[in-house]
């Protein structure tokens, strides 16, 4: 198992480099110019110096390597400095956003908590709902509960978040006025009352996201339970005289959870990646919204870095899911 993990880790490096190259080359074609909003009164020599400072005159391969070095070496050093108060990264050029001329990672660090709170909560809520629903609808296959569950999951699949989001805003925020429609990110939780406000403003985005994630997970859980319910070991367990709850909730559930756990792991990058559309609908200023504004403002370093961070997370959690599968299911050991 360890050799498999190490082999996969080594394979992840060329994958990541290739993805970085693809993103870099795609953005190479972009028409955006960071000097576009520099006033015309600035003399040409000064502009040339600014270009040099930004490293824009270097050929593309050099700039690619510089960016990779900044991403994997300078920025982690800065994090290290920030945590321990050292000055290793002093004098190194960080990845600078063209929008606000500040390091990209500072903006990202500001946005991450909002995304993690909203999308992470939705993910947890979805898992807590999806697993019992999946278990029960598989156990009572073709019952009314199962049929209704299938219908709801189909609807959850089909209704895009930009419609369900707007719909819940109309119903719960405009008509009933139970919840606010816009997420106020400056709201700080200090006591019980402000906590209640926080819960209320999180309710709608979490609901929309959770519906989507629940539909996928509960379908998966149901299919996995159905696969296991007909196995011989279930008959054996029943024949031994075990209680039905023990058979279903211990024997079957433990085996059915194996693929579901890996699917859950595969979905985690999406938490960090943010729900771009849902964040846009509820005006949550998380990572997804940062990406959208960066794209609209032609802020290439920001877009480049964010997209690459998403890719790193996807590769990382693919790896984790693979290793997890091997650990949980001894039949699928890779070595």
């Amino acid at each position: 198992m360890l050799t498999f993990t190490i082999r996969r880790l080594f394979f992840a490096i060329p994958t990541l480099l290739f993805i970085a190259l693809a993103i870099f080359l795609l953005l190479e074609l972009a028409p955006g110019d960071p000097m576009a909003n520099v006033p015309l009164t600035v003399p040409d020599e000064v502009k040339e110096q600014m270009r040099q400072a930004l490293g824009l005159n270097e050929p593309a391969p050099v700039r690619f390597l510089l960016w990779i070095r900044q991403f994997f070496w300078v920025e982690p050093l800065n994090v290290f400095d920030h945590m321990f108060g050292t000055t290793f990264a002093e004098g190194e050029l960080r990845i600078i956003s063209w929008q606000n001329r500040a390091p990209v990672f500072i903006a990202i660090a500001e946005r991450i908590p909002q995304t993690l709170w909203v999308v992470g909560t939705a993910y947890v809520v979805a898992i807590l709902i999806a697993i019992p629903v999946g278990i029960y609808s598989a156990y009572k296959q073709y019952s009314i509960f199962d049929q209704a569950g299938t219908f709801v999951t189909m609807v959850g699949f089909s209704v895009p978040p930009f419609f369900s989001g707007v719909l819940v805003i109309v119903i719960f925020a405009v008509q009933l006025q139970w919840f606010p429609s816009i997420y106020d990110t400056r709201h700080a939780v200090t006591d019980w009352d402000s906590f209640v406000i926080q819960v209320r403003q999180m309710f709608l985005p979490v609901m929309v996201l959770a519906l989507q994630i629940t539909s996928q997970l509960s379908r998966f859980m149901r299919a996995s339970m159905l696969d296991n319910l007909n196995q011989d070991y279930v008959r054996t367990a029943r024949a031994k005289g075990l209680k039905e709850t023990a058979v279903v909730l211990v024997h079957v559930l433990r085996n059915s959870m194996i693929p579901v756990v890996t699917v859950i792991a595969l979905g985690i990058p999406a938490i960090f990646g943010g729900a771009i559309i849902t964040e846009q609908v509820f005006k949550v200023n998380g990572i997804g919204q940062l990406l959208i504004t960066a794209i609209q403002a032609n802020d290439l370093p920001m877009v480049q870095t964010l997209t690459f961070i998403f890719a790193v997370l996807i590769v990382l959690f693919n790896l984790i899911a693979d290793v997890l599968y091997g650990i949980l299911d001894p039949r699928i050991r890779y070595d």
Binding site: T15, F18, I19, A22, I23, L26, L27, L29, A30, P31, M154, V155, F157, S158, V159, P160, F162, F163, V166, L167, I169, V170, V174, P269, G273, I276, I277, Q280, L291, I292, I295, Q296, N298, V303, L306, T307, F310, A311, I314, V315, N318
Partner: protein
Amino acid sequence: MTDARDPSTHSGNDTVVTAASASLAATEPVLLNTEARSQWWDVWDQFRSHKGALIGAGFFILIVALVVLGPYFWPLEATKTNIRSRNQGMSFTHPFGTDQLGRDIFARMIEGGRVSLAVGMAAMLLSLVLGTLIGVLAGYFKRLDGLLMRLTDLFLALPLLPLLLVMVLLFREPLTAVFGVEMGIFILIVSAIGITSWMQTARIVRGDVLALKEREFVLAARSIGTPPRRIITRHILPNVLSPIMVSATLGIATAIITESALSFLGLGFPPDFPTWGRLLNDGVPYLQQYPERVFWPGLAISLVVLSINYVGDGLRDALDPRIRGR
């Protein structure tokens, strides 16, 4: 409906038919009449027994007919503004009301549906062709397998929605310059969605081709010297048709949602060019006063995608010989 699939009645019919044909022409082979029934009738019988799929298919055909034939029957134009009759509610002249410029929303919905469905189908076709090509090549030719599957893994690791947004942002200007605004954006969105959604099809097709390649009929074809190109078109492709059909239906659904999402984020079609996602986006600022403006396009997208998903579900059951005839 279920008794059509019941094995006992089935075999009962067969014996009646064979007996009748045997008495008619005793010298003829017995299979005369039963042969007329191809496997597609079995597929249709199974599909028909899935109520959701049947309703979904009916609804989808209805919507397609409506958006294709609609402009010939509906007198109002989608882009004609009429300031004097703006922001109207539902009436006989304007069944869905009018928008802030007095344009008839029903006509805009028809026009938007045409674009959304056209994008969905074209993108699905592109991703299907790409996916099938890569899947068949990877499955059939061992030398290409490793390379193509690594490529597929790479594409699966890409963050797709951000990349789609970036692609639209970058190539919008050059393509509109070459093909004009509408055609340029259409080509851009269709190819962007197509290139980022072929991976699942490729994986499924590769798996099936790997299994098919070892079957006796392929071996027989190869032993009489059939070139690979012929084996693929004659023996392999018809046999991987069913997974391809299932991913085709699901592909339309995802393509429609993706196009609407792009339009919703303001990176799809230009504002005066209605698509369902664009109409929804246009309706959001008027959410408080006129919620129905968001409601109709959203409902159209959701219902079409829902019906396509049900059709895909029914097709998967109908095309699976293990389930069929049970």
